[in-house]
């Protein structure tokens, strides 16, 4: 039988991306015991993946430096899969861990929205963030031809990073409209620091075709990607490439907040000005409260960390800084709505659920997510619907059902390690 570890923290922070790191460090100022729990081998989340051992100084290295010097206990490779009444249960490679806490800060970040189109399941078709994550994890993309598609500012960041790695970025295909893209660029210059960032980005992306009103129609290849067909201004064309990095912006990882009982508003975790959720003593910062990017995540994380350790006046000092970056949430929402043409990319035989190989046609027969799950097995695979449920929601308008443990597939022995409480949470 696997061993079961016990950990206890005054403040437990789940998710070691920017929001979680900022929260943990702010909370650590109080002298209380702080645990920073993440399922990856190292801290950093998505945007700072691999940055902890980067030789070059960067914005993130200051944070990692502080983290390493702090009293925060980083618990790596540990995946939280259950939460109830002041206790988390998590799993790592060799054991299960029960984590009890006084206060909880949820910084579980976001993942990409994937929409199905013919050929999207071919090897080397990845998310935009997906390609970036793999490149940061050691994938050598120098000299490779990459088409970047989908929507959102992540496409530009990935394009810049890919180029930095020596890849040939053939085109950036953004589905939003030209006017919306222009308005996005303009509005972002009004957010502190973003104007300079935009100039740097534009410089880094010089010469790369950047098309709006443009989206992937199909991917082709025999056993791996060979070319992509894109639609642009009513015309289609084919581009040969080695990788297609395609993602349609971000969706919040709200599964753990939901299991904790946190109330949602429009699909995001509802928080008050101190980043506290509807559950007293449970805070949330970063993308699960609204997709708003790095700077917002950092300041909201800090506020949550101070609030969770009863340092309200330090938290309040950051309110105006947060307000400046809070605008980004609205700017992003307005700039990248998904156009209706994207609902028609999938053909009847295009798979929607990749875990169970369920096609669009099989899903069309059903009128609810639950019915589709039971009868077509969509969402019954190990990803537990993380890939296909948001796509199904976009394609069919289905509401996704409630969250049950385990939040991730875990060993049966870990399931048995969930502590028993008097009343199960509804």
């Amino acid at each position: 039988m696997d061993s079961v570890k016990q950990l206890r923290f005054d403040v437990a922070v789940v998710g070691a991306g920017p929001a979680g790191i900022a929260a943990a460090l702010a909370a650590a100022d109080s002298g209380k015991t702080i645990g920073l729990i993440d399922d990856n081998p190292a801290a950093g989340g998505q945007i700072w993946r691999g940055a902890h051992n980067s030789a070059q100084p960067s914005a993130s290295s200051i944070w990692f430096d502080r983290l390493n010097k702090s009293a925060v206990q980083t618990v790596r490779g540990t995946r939280v899969f259950h939460a109830a009444q002041g206790e988390l249960t998590a799993e790592s490679d060799d054991s299960a861990t029960q984590i009890s806490y006084g206060k909880l800060i949820l910084a579980t970040g976001a993942r990409e929205l994937f929409l199905p189109f013919p050929g999207w399941t071919l090897p080397n078709v990845m998310g935009a963030g997906g390609l970036q994550a793999l490149a940061k994890s050691g994938l050598d993309i120098s000299g490779k031809r990459i088409v970047i598609a989908g929507t959102g500012p992540l496409l530009l960041a990935v394009a810049a990073y890919a180029r930095q790695c020596g890849a040939k970025v053939v085109a950036i295909c953004e589905q939003t409209t030209r006017p919306l893209m222009a308005r996005f660029a303009l509005k972002m210059t009004l957010v502190p620091g973003k104007a300079a960032e935009a100039v740097r980005l534009a410089y880094n992306l010089r010469g790369i075709p950047h098309w709006t009103d443009c989206w992937p129609v199909a991917a082709f290849g025999n056993r791996r990607l060979e070319s992509v067909r894109i639609s642009r201004q009513g015309q289609t064309s084919e581009i040969e490439c080695d990788y297609l990095a395609c993602g349609f912006h971000l969706i919040p990882n709200i599964e753990l907040p939901r299991m904790c009982g946190c109330r949602l508003e429009n699909g995001f975790v509802e928080v008050d000005e101190y980043q506290q959720t509807s559950i007293a003593g449970t805070f949330c910062a970063g993308e699960p409260t609204g997709i708003g990017g790095l700077e917002l995540a950092l300041v909201a994380g800090e506020i949550a960390g101070y609030a969770a350790t009863n340092w309200e006046d330090r938290a309040r000092h950051l309110f105006s800084k947060r307000a400046r970056y809070q605008k980004v949430v609205r700017i992003l929402q307005d700039a990248f709505p998904l156009r209706p043409e994207l609902k028609n990319l999938a053909r009847p035989d295009t798979l929607v659920c990749r875990c169970e190989d369920v096609s669009h046609q099989q899903l069309r027969e059903h009128s609810s997510w639950r019915g589709a799950k039971l009868h077509a097995r969509c969402g019954m695979g190990p990803c537990q619907g993380r890939v296909c449920a948001p796509a199904a929601q976009f394609l069919f308008g289905w509401e996704i059902d409630s969250v049950r443990p385990p939040l991730f597939p875990v060993r049966c022995s870990s399931l048995a390690a969930i502590p028993s409480h008097s009343a199960p949470r509804n």
Binding site: D39, N40, P41, Q46, G50, N53, G77, R111, E112, F114, T121, P123, N124, V125, M126, G127, G129, G130, L131, Q132, A133, L134, S137, G138, L139, D140, R223, R224, R354, C355, E356, D357, G381, P382, C383, R386, V387, P409
Partner: protein, 81 residues
């Protein structure tokens, strides 16, 4: 500390930079991670542990998400995409 690490993917030695994940080793070897339930070859999609397309067997243990496992010397990886 070594700058690179060598693992075996389907019996073939593959060398990657230190700190690289098993998913990267599989891709570098030219293999695909897994075969879907209807037999399609699949490789990583999300790169962050949520899509499960990167599952391989590592040292005999099946269904491991390779994008979240760091390569260690002499790891035996079976990727049957």
């Amino acid at each position: 500390m070594s700058e690179s690490v060598t693992v075996r993917v389907n019996g073939k030695p593959v060398t990657v930079r230190a700190g690289a994940t098993v998913a990267v080793a599989v891709l570098a070897s030219g293999a695909t991670c897994r075969a879907s339930v209807s037999g399609q070859p699949r490789s990583p999609l999300c790169g962050m542990g949520t899509c499960f397309e990167c599952r391989v067997a590592i040292n005999g243990e099946p269904q491991r998400r390779s994008c979240q496992v760091l390569c260690e010397a002499n790891m035996e990886i079976e990727a049957n995409g």
